[in-house]
C-alpha cells in the first residue's frame, strides 16, 4: 500500500464526474476507469464510491438507470447530466487554480520571498 495516493477530500467528486463524462458506467466500471486513468493507484476504498454516487444523483449531477452488466447482473448505470457537465468544468477549473497556486508556492526560491 506504499504507493497508494491519499485522496484529498472533495476530489472524489471530480474523479467520478470525469470518469462518467467519458461514457455511461456502472459503479465498478467507474472504479476501473479511475484506476486506468490514474495509473491504477487504488485511491479509495471501493465501497466509498457508492455514497458519493448517490449524493451526486441526489444533487442532479448524475442520472442512474438500471441495466445489465457484463456478467449478466442488474446494475445501475450512471450518466452525466448537463448540470453535471457544468459542475465538472467548474471543479476542473478550481482544481487547476489550486494546483497552480500550490505549485507556485512550492517552487518559490528563498530570494523571491
Amino acid at each position: 500500500m506504499a504507493n497508494q495516493a491519499q485522496l484529498l477530500p472533495g476530489t472524489l467528486v471530480l474523479l467520478i464526474l470525469k470518469a462518467v463524462s467519458l461514457g455511461s458506467l456502472h459503479g465498478y466500471g467507474i472504479l476501473l476507469r479511475i484506476g486506468q486513468i490514474s495509473g491504477d493507484a487504488s485511491v479509495i476504498e471501493q465501497g466509498a464510491l457508492y455514497p458519493a454516487l448517490f449524493r451526486l444523483v441526489r444533487h442532479g449531477f448524475l442520472t442512474a438507470d438500471w441495466g445489465t452488466s457484463d456478467n449478466n447482473r442488474r446494475a445501475k448505470f450512471y450518466q452525466l447530466t448537463t448540470t453535471g457537465r457544468k459542475r465538472l468544468r467548474e471543479e476542473v477549473a478550481s482544481w487547476n487554480r489550486l494546483t497552480a497556486a500550490i505549485g507556485a508556492v512550492l517552487s518559490a526560491e528563498p530570494e523571491e520571498v
Binding site: 456502472h26 476504498e45 465501497g47 466509498a48 457508492y50 457484463d70 456478467n71 446494475a75
Partner: protein
C-alpha cells in the same frame, strides 16, 4: 442497492480470478477491498434521504418488524381499531340521517349519508366520524338544547351533583329550567 453491491463484488471477484486467485480467495479479497457493506449501505441511504427521514424510516421499519414478530398482538390491535372506527362510522351514519331531515342547513356541515359514498371518502368519513364523535359533536340526543344538568348547592358547596333519589318528588324540579340558570348539556 444490495443488488448493485453484489454486482460490483462479483465483477471484482471475477477480475481477481483472472489475475490468478482461486474463486474463494477472489471473493474474499473483493469483499475486503470493498469495505464495510453495512456501513456503506447505511451511508447510501443517508445520502438519499437525509438524516431525519432516515431515522424516521428506521423507526417505522423497527415498528413493523416488532408487529410481525407478535402476530397475535397485531391482530388484536388491528381488529380493535377496525371495529372501533367501523362502528363509529355506522352509528354516525345512522344518526346523521334523522338530523339531516330535521335541519337541512346543518346537514351541509355534517358528513353526507353513506348512500352517496365513494370508496376513498368512506375512509375519510370513518376518520372524521371518530374525531367528530370524540371532539366536535354535541351529544346525539333529540333536541339536545333542552337538556339540563341539575346541581344542588348550599352554603358550603355551591355546585354539587344530585343523586337520583333526591331528584325525585316530593322535591319537584320541573320548574327548574325557569327558576335557576341550568347548564345546557355539553360534553360533561
Amino acid at each position: 442497492m444490495n443488488e448493485e453491491f453484489r454486482c460490483h463484488l462479483q465483477l471484482r471477484a471475477h477480475d481477481l480470478e483472472r489475475q490468478g486467485l482461486t474463486r474463494a480467495q477472489a471473493e474474499r479479497r473483493a469483499r475486503i477491498e470493498f469495505g464495510g457493506l453495512d456501513r456503506y449501505t447505511e451511508e447510501c441511504r443517508e445520502a438519499l434521504a437525509g438524516r431525519l427521514l432516515r431515522e424516521l424510516l428506521a423507526d417505522v421499519r423497527y415498528g413493523l418488524r416488532q408487529l410481525r414478530r407478535n402476530p397475535g398482538f397485531t391482530a388484536v390491535a388491528l381488529a380493535t381499531l377496525t371495529l372501533g372506527i367501523g362502528a363509529n362510522t355506522a352509528i354516525r351514519g345512522r344518526l346523521e340521517a334523522p338530523r339531516a331531515e330535521r335541519a337541512p342547513a346543518a346537514a351541509s356541515r355534517s358528513p353526507p349519508t353513506s348512500d352517496q359514498r365513494e370508496r376513498p371518502s368512506e375512509m375519510w368519513r370513518a376518520i372524521f366520524s371518530a374525531v367528530d364523535a370524540v371532539l366536535l359533536r354535541p351529544l346525539p340526543f333529540p333536541q339536545p338544547e333542552q337538556l339540563v344538568a341539575v346541581r344542588e348547592s348550599d352554603r358550603q358547596f355551591p355546585s354539587m351533583s344530585v343523586s337520583y333519589p333526591d331528584y325525585l318528588p316530593p322535591c319537584p324540579p320541573i320548574a327548574a329550567p325557569a327558576v335557576s340558570s341550568p347548564t345546557p348539556a355539553h360534553r360533561q
